[in-house]
């Protein structure tokens, strides 16, 4: 019986591994291509190079201010994630605990979902006008302002759902113990929602890291470019420098990978926090 269970588990993990490999095939191909020379990029159909080279990485770092692009993307993504997390948690708590008690605001959180249906492309002209008027055109702070405003609604809706899952009796118990509203929120509810907060931080970080359309119309100076814009350096009108593009793309996913690995444990710890009684 034990042998059968082991066999079953092995087969199950083998299938999962295969599915994982298939899903990650484009990324594996990208990383493999990053180590192919310009001669091999078109002539070698295999995932991995016959003669690996780091020449492409050197080319990217020497020919473009790639580290500047990374720093710009990191700054924007981290600042936006922090601001969105703080504001969304506060707003989400208010919606979860108080809005539903007020007749007029009962379905307020649904409005956030309706806002998501608004096509982002229609925002571009007024956003550029507004940023230009307040002197934030072609600046990272202008981009941060726009990303914060576009990410808050969905994150607020998401985190308010998490807060709904925490019984209000916990707040009442905290009140009895002498906590005011903010202390109850900060010391009791937030720690219990770490998985939800980690989720909105991940969601916001990835959104900011990958976003291209708004960054393209707001940022124009080369030294302010975020990574999605920086990758366009290798794409000409009809031609693409695939070797350099694959190397730059490989370097682009590294920070996000580390970030996700770091945040993943918070999601897991949040999920298992209440698993064991007593």
């Amino acid at each position: 019986m034990n042998k059968y269970k082991k066999l079953k588990a092995t087969a199950f993990y083998a299938v999962l591994l295969l599915i994982g490999l298939l899903i990650n095939l484009p990324i594996i191909n990208m990383v493999g291509s990053a180590f192919k020379s310009s001669k091999e990029i078109f002539t070698n159909n295999n995932l991995f190079p016959h003669h690996p080279t780091v020449e492409n990485f050197k080319n990217v770092l020497e020919r473009t201010p790639f580290f500047q692009y990374v720093l710009n993307s990191l700054m924007v993504a981290i600042v936006v994630s922090i601001i969105v997390a703080v504001v969304s948690c506060l707003a989400g708590y208010a919606i979860s605990r108080y809005a539903k008690k007020i007749k007029f605001f009962k379905h307020y959180s649904s409005l956030f979902l309706i806002l998501q249906m608004f096509p982002g492309v229609l925002l571009m002209i007024p956003v550029v006008v507004l940023l230009s008027d307040i002197g934030l055109g072609d600046s990272l702070w202008g981009l941060i302002l726009v990303y914060v405003s576009t990410n808050i609604p969905f994150c607020t809706w998401m985190i308010s759902g998490f807060f709904d899952g925490i019984p209000s009796e916990i707040d009442e118990a905290a009140k009895i113990d002498g906590c005011n509203v903010f202390q109850s929120f900060a010391k009791i509810v937030v720690p219990l929602s770490s998985s939800g907060i980690a989720s909105i931080i991940i969601f916001t970080f990835i959104n900011c890291w990958n976003e291209y359309m708004l960054a393209n119309v707001i940022l124009k100076s080369q030294d302010l470019r975020t990574l999605p814009l920086g990758l366009q350096t290798f794409i000409m009108q009809f031609d693409t420098d695939w070797s350099s593009l694959m190397a730059a793309s490989t370097m682009t996913i590294i920070p996000v990978l580390f970030f996700l690995i770091f945040m993943q444990k918070h999601i897991v710890s949040g999920l298992t926090a209440g698993a064991v009684k007593g």
Partner: protein
């Protein structure tokens, strides 16, 4: 917190949000940095949006060239250089124009100046043309290139670069099969047929790319429109070209109907196909592949079609100024200077397309490149733009190109058995609809 204080705080926050909405109004393009140049310094600041016409080096070389201009004009004009990615560029330009953002001069793709001229956003370049004429330099522009940017009696842009298309081929593969370079359509087909065997194909064809179809159509005397801006796709010459394209299916890899550009390039680079229709900048790709592969390849002179015509196909891109600029004369000065001093963009910046001036064809980056020599001597002199035979482009051509009607026709010819008459009729109707809608 007392209830009254809470209410006051809520009202204050709501008021702050309402006041912030007052920021949402179209600005007159005001920008503190631009206003400062009118405050006594006497230096006009203009913003130049340039497209990436070459690899990463191009932008660095272009920035240095702008620095040179600024040094030579330090008391009068200062140019800020910004490179605009191709992906989403129309969006970026439209937003900048509509919002009045910093945009005084730009390079751009073929029909961009015509599109913005229709919106009355383009600064006419007639003064620049006159300046070149007075200096005796007007004839230096490639024939037809100035006319291409004439619209409603105005020069909407100056010619910047030219992007011809040609048939590259692997001469070593032909030599190994005892074949010589074809000169007619029939010879071309026979050559491809002889080479198609054992997993090797005569032609690397990207069905999703209209270049093959357009090259054949124009070569045979066909066109999208006629001199009177009417649809002209449903003609015997175009049908003959499409029939020939369908015949070429026999000498292409299976699935070519759905191939994009890089899939065809892969076949050619792997020496699994002998011929490929590509743009001028493909020569840089071949050179980067390896010196060995570069030595194997050549470019065909334009084939003689069944109609007895030799004609190439090419795009022409322009450099243009915008009416929203506060410094129109400085913009014209910069555009003239940029055209006259752009040699370094080809020599060091590895600019892909060809220059629009005949004298620049002598540049070593062109004269020493065997592919570019054939383009310069044989293809560009007989090259025509998409709006041929109508003299001068106009906005509807941009729509025809943007709707990818050529790609639709090409993939339908190659991927289905739809009768050619039906394909030309359908596409012709679509072209006519576009022309009427954009009158």
């Amino acid at each position: 917190m007392k209830k009254r204080t809470k209410k006051i705080m809520s009202l204050l926050l709501a008021g702050a949000m309402v006041v912030s909405l007052a920021g949402c109004g179209k600005s007159g393009g005001s920008d503190s940095s631009k206003d400062s140049d009118s405050k006594g310094s006497g230096v006009a600041e203009i913003t130049f949006w340039d497209m990436p016409w070459g690899p990463a080096e191009y932008q660095n070389v272009a920035e240095k060239l702008v620095d040179q201009f600024n040094e030579e004009h330090k008391d009068t004009i200062k140019v800020k250089y910004q490179s605009i990615p191709w992906d989403g560029c129309f969006n970026a330009f439209n937003v900048a124009i509509e919002s009045g953002a910093d945009l005084d001069v730009s390079t751009g793709s073929a029909y961009q100046p015509h599109q913005f001229a229709e919106m009355d956003e383009i600064l006419p370049m007639d003064d620049v043309v006159k300046a070149f004429e007075e200096e005796g330099k007007l004839d230096d522009f490639v024939d037809g290139s100035l006319d291409q940017f004439q619209m409603d009696g105005q020069q909407v842009a100056m010619p910047w670069n030219i992007d011809p298309k040609g048939i590259y081929y692997n001469k070593e593969m032909l030599d190994a099969a005892g074949l010589t370079a074809p000169t007619t359509w029939d010879e071309f087909y026979d050559c491809c047929k002889a080479l198609t065997k054992d997993g090797v194909y005569g032609l690397a064809l990207a069905g999703n790319n209209p270049w093959q179809l357009e090259a054949l159509m124009f070569d045979n005397g066909g066109s999208y429109i006629d001199e009177d801006k009417q649809a002209n796709f449903d003609t015997p010459q175009t049908k003959e070209a499409l029939e020939f394209l369908r015949k070429l299916k026999d000498v292409c890899a299976p699935g070519s109907a759905g191939y994009k550009r890089d899939e065809a390039v892969k076949l050619f680079m792997q020496e699994k196909a002998a011929f490929i229709v590509m743009s001028a900048d493909f020569s840089v790709e071949i050179k980067n592949q390896s010196d060995e592969f570069y030595d194997k390849c050549e470019v065909l002179e334009p084939l003689t079609s069944p109609e007895g015509i030799q004609r190439g196909m090419m795009g022409m891109n322009g450099i243009m100024g915008y009416k929203q600029t506060k410094h129109p004369e400085e913009v014209k000065t910069f555009i003239k200077w940029w055209i006259e001093n752009s040699d370094v963009l080809w020599e060091e910046g590895q600019m892909g397309p060809f220059p629009s001036r005949k004298s620049q064809m002598e540049l070593s980056s062109i004269a020493d490149n065997k592919f570019k020599q054939v383009f310069a001597e044989s293809i560009i002199p007989v090259g025509v733009p998409l709006n041929f035979p109508h003299k001068g482009a106009f906005p509807a051509v941009n729509v025809i190109e943007g709707e990818e009607l050529g790609a639709e026709a090409s993939s339908t010819v190659l991927g289905t058995d739809t009768p050619i008459d039906e394909i030309t009729s359908t596409i012709n109707d679509k072209i006519q609809t576009i022309l009427e809608a954009n009158e």
